[in-house]
Amino acid sequence: MARQDSTRNFCIIAHIDHGKSTLADRLLEYTGALSAREMEQQVLDKMDIERERGITIKLQAVRISYTAHNGKTYILNLIDTPGHVDFNYEVSRSLAACEGALLVVDATQGIEAQTLANAYLAIEHDLEIIPVINKIDLPSADPEGVKKQIEDILGIDADEAILASAKTGIGTEDILEAIVKKIPAPEGDPSARLKALIFDSHFDSYRGAIPYIRIVDGIMKKGINMQMMGTGKSFEVTEVGIFTPAPRSVDCLKPGDVGFIAASIKNVKDTQVGDTITDEDRPAEKPLPGYRKATSMVYCGLYPIETNDYPDLRDALEKLQLNDASLVYEPETSGALGFGFRCGFLGLLHMEIIKERLEREYGLDLLTTAPSVNYRATKTDNTEIYIDNPTKLPSSQEMIMVEEPYVKATIMVPSEFVGSVMEIATERRGSFINMEYITESRVMMIYDLPLSEIIYDFFDQLKSRTKGYASLDYDLSGYKESDLVKLDILVNNEVVDALSCIVHKDKAYYRGRALVEKLRRIIPRQLFEVPIQAAIGNKVIARETVKALRKNVLEKCYGGDITRKRKLLEKQKEGKKRMKQVGSVEIPQEAFMAVLKID
């Protein structure tokens, strides 16, 4: 049997916590790709942070060899997908590398917003979808109800849905058989001009950026001059390989194959996810569809607490970017915080992960400013500028209008929470688009919402007001004009640029009030009285005062106390170190994130 005919490329899509990674482990274990002992719990989620948070951030791919009931041996390429809305584009690229998808739904939870979003993506990509109802071993499992949801909501025939328990291994064999029988073999012409889709990459310190690819047409082999069709850059291929899951060199990759190439690519930016690789000497006419550059949704300033750490931060960002082309950064200077970087992220989770990695893997102490979205201002001379840092917003005299990015948000909740969702959406300046009962008791609500209202604590609020039942997915829908103003915060009569934010005019007074109150509580008493003001332009709209520190002294100190008292002083000193000196005021780090926790 030709290799192409015996190949099946598939991915697993699921809502977070529905058991995707455990299922992947089970498939690997069953097919002997790895023994149970070799697996450190979940092989596909490699980073510590991923394992801790139980989510996949970086995509991975694995080749599995499976001998089916019909006696033939198949190559199954499992391409993992990230399970968070921040990484939607990455999901779409890995779907594009497959012919089929396992749609995993938790038998106790049913369909959630991400199940839906990912299933729609899979349908758009014409993938064969195999529904898998997971966790059927749990007492509260309701496989029949979930089947009905899959049919009613997704319009997918669930008659042959596989009942499984990734935890216990029930259904694993059925899943493998279904992959072989139902998912079509990849098409593609080995004699056609080379087209390979990049669906991920990683950086290897010896071999450079390693793109993970799926061959669509043609043959990829060592020695050819390959060209990135999006960026136009060319490289000589030095190695071609597959993941078993350990990387292993092969002679060539043919249509339908999934693997990696090495080509001494120095910069991960040259291996953009979604780009098409072709042969420079015999190039394809046009690239594969769907490529776009990763767009940053959220921006924030990252500053070292110790100013001396600036070069280390720059190096660390450089290194992280090698592995994560979606991270963008450029140097910026803040009057309050000194030298740092304005960084763009795919979403808030992406931002938190990067910050955590910088602190953990590079041992940096960082200060993050409140996240902001990318506003767009039209100046009086009709030029358009993008504003990723609130301090850059022109004054109202200098601009005609300012627009902000909006998203189309899909929220799914049990029907009793419809009122709560409407309430939150209205508070967050959302406009209602549509509502649909997907079953008798579950509702899908669609809202148009400003992105800036979502990046703060929207999801937390949504969860807490729906007893944790709501799920959320969103997509950028475009820019809309808004009545926005810049809210400045003055500490000790000086504007602290890192605390400025852009807010809707109707909310400015409330936010200013809440922010100064919050800061009064966060900023400890100093040796002198510290006024904290919120202002729009020159107009102060709220004021609070941090009283002067009056007493901070060890009450008694005798022979038996000295070590303990010294440790107490050391702790106080440590606390001060974690603060940022702005002018003559010591401001704790959390103050710069305070704007996040208001509402």
Partner: protein, 379 residues
């Protein structure tokens, strides 16, 4: 050895804020006699260790409440000390006591054994506050105790007072100070209440079930104490301590100057050479170790020069006279002002420190904000 501290870890009943190592005496049975025997043994063992050319200038019995023991136990320990160490003729010998555990005869016997200073845990003059604190005595008991001590010839008396108690008003605090002034005790220690987590009040505070006066009231209370006591001819010689001229506590000054002292008894701490030792905070372990002839040390810390200098500074600055710069140089071979020039300049500029030609000390403002100064000198 300049000073010896003896810890007596027994009391009638634990107060709600107490985090010293102490056990209610009615729960320990015969262990208290065994304990006193162990203390005597520890004294003898140390006597063999130390060079005896220097005279002991101060002995201090602290607790707990040392006077819950029969007076003979205390005098017995004292005799063992005289027999083991050279004690100066004019040594300051202090016993902490609480009203309700002592009488005229008890004081007479202490006095006969050489005790010349008494420290009384008076705390407040309002019975309602004393009751809330879990004290076993009332203000009239305090007054009686002081007259009995004087009758026995013990004139050098310290009063401990506490401010910042839950529910205490500034007027009640001033009243306690005035009531104390009327007794003309030569030494007053005025402490701000600091609740440690492992105490009934500390836990209640964490659970939000207890409220204590805030920083501003606490500062007002210290201001009030300073004003009232200075007006009554007391010398303010340490952040929390006041005395008539000639009566500052010699024992505590050893601590504040970070000189050497020996601590015996469970949980007691010593500072000898560059080493600080703390004995095990357990009655049975303490007694057990000594029975086997071991030093009952729980923790031992070697103090490097940087740490010792920092400690010498933060302890020394507690004294209003501050630190003698020549003494500091003689001890560490380092000029304090050069070594800490950045800190000293900054703190003087902030108005927390003052330099004189020979000394460095806290300013009046710095007295209230000592920690802002102290932590700057930590390594």
């Amino acid at each position: 050895m300049e000073a010896v501290y003896i810890h007596i870890p027994f009391c009638m009943k634990k107060c709600n804020y107490c985090d010293f190592y102490s056990l209610p005496v009615n729960t320990v049975g015969v262990l208290k006699e065994e304990y006193c025997a162990a203390v005597k043994k520890e004294i003898e063992m140390y006597a063999r260790e130390f060079d005896k050319s220097n005279q002991v200038k101060s002995i201090y019995f602290g607790g707990g409440t040392p006077t819950v023991l029969p007076v003979g136990e205390l005098t017995g320990i004292l005799k063992r000390l005289y027999a083991s160490f050279p004690v100066a003729n004019d040594a300051e010998i202090t016993v902490e006591c609480n009203p309700g555990t002592v009488d005229l005869d008890y004081f007479r016997r202490l006095k006969d054994a050489g005790v010349n200073r008494i420290s009384i845990g008076a705390q407040a003059s309002q019975d309602s506050l004393l009751e809330k604190m879990g004290r076993i005595h009332r203000w009239r008991d305090t007054v009686r105790t002081i007259s009995q001590a004087r009758q026995a010839g013990l004139e050098n008396i310290n009063f401990d007072l506490i401010y910042g108690l839950p529910g205490q008003t500034i007027d009640q605090w001033k009243e306690s100070l005035r009531d104390t002034l009327s007794l003309e005790v030569p030494h007053i220690a005025a402490y701000g209440l600091k609740l440690e987590p492992d105490t009934p009040w500390g836990r209640a505070l964490e659970l939000g079930k207890l409220e204590v006066p805030d920083q501003d009231i606490s500062a007002d209370m210290l201001e009030a104490a300073i004003d009232l006591l200075l007006g009554a001819d007391y010398l303010h010689y340490e952040i929390s301590n006041f005395a008539y001229s000639g009566f500052p506590s010699r024992h505590n000054i050893v601590y504040w100057k970070n000189h050497d002292y020996l601590g015996v008894g469970a949980a007691a701490a010593s500072h000898t050479g560059h080493i600080r030792r703390t004995n095990v905070p357990s009655l049975t372990e303490y007694i057990g170790a000594l029975k086997q002839g071991h030093f009952p040390v729980g923790e031992e810390e070697f103090l490097d020069q940087e740490t010792e200098m920092a400690e010498t500074i933060f302890l020394g600055l507690r004294l209003l006279s501050g630190i003698d710069r020549d003494e500091f140089r003689a001890r560490f071979g380092v000029n304090l002002i050069d070594k800490y020039s950045v800190q000293v300049e900054k703190l003087c500029w902030k108005g927390l420190l003052e330099l004189t030609p020979t000394r460095i000390r806290l300013s009046r403002k710095g007295l209230f904000l000592g920690n802002e100064v102290f932590l700057e000198f930590l390594p």
